[in-house]
């Protein structure tokens, strides 16, 4: 890793930390937090889907009744994860008017991992890391013009180290 980039990154890091110490508010309703609270209220019905215990139930709670596989939903995840605690997943949509991306994990205790709202000015191209309890399918669903499109792929979770 080039040293220049490291130093620059650290500068950003430190700046971020300073601000964090200044404005972090525990359970406060600071001005900056208001947006989140508003968003919560608007999207409350979706919150319920995170408590679903199966993919089918999560889709029902999200009112996703009809979903078709699409090659324009580009889901990337490793074939094998050395540890299920961190499975990198990225989702990109080539479908016009994509306005939401859902990430679900089959056979997880709570399969719905994330919903990302693709607002104006945001590329439908996100990545995050998820936990997987066992070998299973990662499912990406994209919403565009009120219709749902899917991609999925299997990720094998391995047991590691001394196992104890």
């Amino acid at each position: 890793m080039p040293h220049v980039s490291r130093r620059r990154r650290r500068a950003i890091l430190n700046r971020g930390l300073g601000i964090a110490l200044g404005v972090a508010a525990r359970a406060g309703l600071g001005a900056i937090g208001l947006g989140v609270r508003d968003a919560d209220a608007q999207e409350a019905p979706d919150r319920d889907a995170f408590a679903a215990r199966s993919v089918a139930d999560a889709l029902a709670r999200l009112r996703i009744l009809d979903v078709a596989d699409s090659p324009d939903v580009l889901l990337d995840a490793p074939d094998i994860a050395e540890n299920g605690a961190v499975v990198p997943v990225s989702v990109r949509s080539r479908i016009a008017h994509t306005d939401a991306i859902f990430v679900l994990l089959d056979r997880n205790p709570f399969p719905l991992a994330a919903r990302v709202d693709i607002l104006d000015g945001l590329a439908p191209d996100v990545a995050l890391r998820v936990k997987m309890a066992e070998t299973a399918a990662v499912i990406a669903i994209v919403r565009a013009d009120g219709r749902y499109w899917r991609a999925q792929r299997d990720v094998k979770i391995t047991i590691g180290g001394c196992g104890g």
Partner: protein, 104 residues
């Protein structure tokens, strides 16, 4: 939080690392007592005060979460603000300035 915001090919790549336990509520501690669920439920990102991304999370997001997203347009010097709230009501806000990619 560690926020890296880099202008690449006409869009801002934002990489956010958050220190958070993201407890599922299904684990037990060393003494065998259940560890209560404790996880981030919502993350919002702004560029110069305009909301560009909202995401809602469940317990399946990894501990110390990473989130990567891309904002169309933007310029070096833009301010990217990220805030999160968790199921306990804790919240936190950090910000970073958009930079040009480091020379290779």
């Amino acid at each position: 939080m560690r926020i890296r915001a880099t202008l690449r090919s006409g869009r801002i790549e934002v990489r956010v690392l958050i220190a958070h336990p993201m407890e599922t509520g299904l684990r037990k501690d060393e003494a065998g007592n259940p560890i209560p669920a404790w996880y981030i439920t919502d993350v919002t990102a702004r560029v110069n005060d305009r909301i560009v991304m909202k995401t809602a999370w469940g317990t399946a997001v990894s501990k110390d979460p990473l989130l990567v997203f891309h904002v169309l347009g933007g310029a070096v010097g833009d301010r990217v603000t990220v805030d999160w709230i968790d199921n306990r009501g804790d919240r936190r806000t950090d910000e970073a300035t958009v930079v040009a990619p480091a020379s290779p």
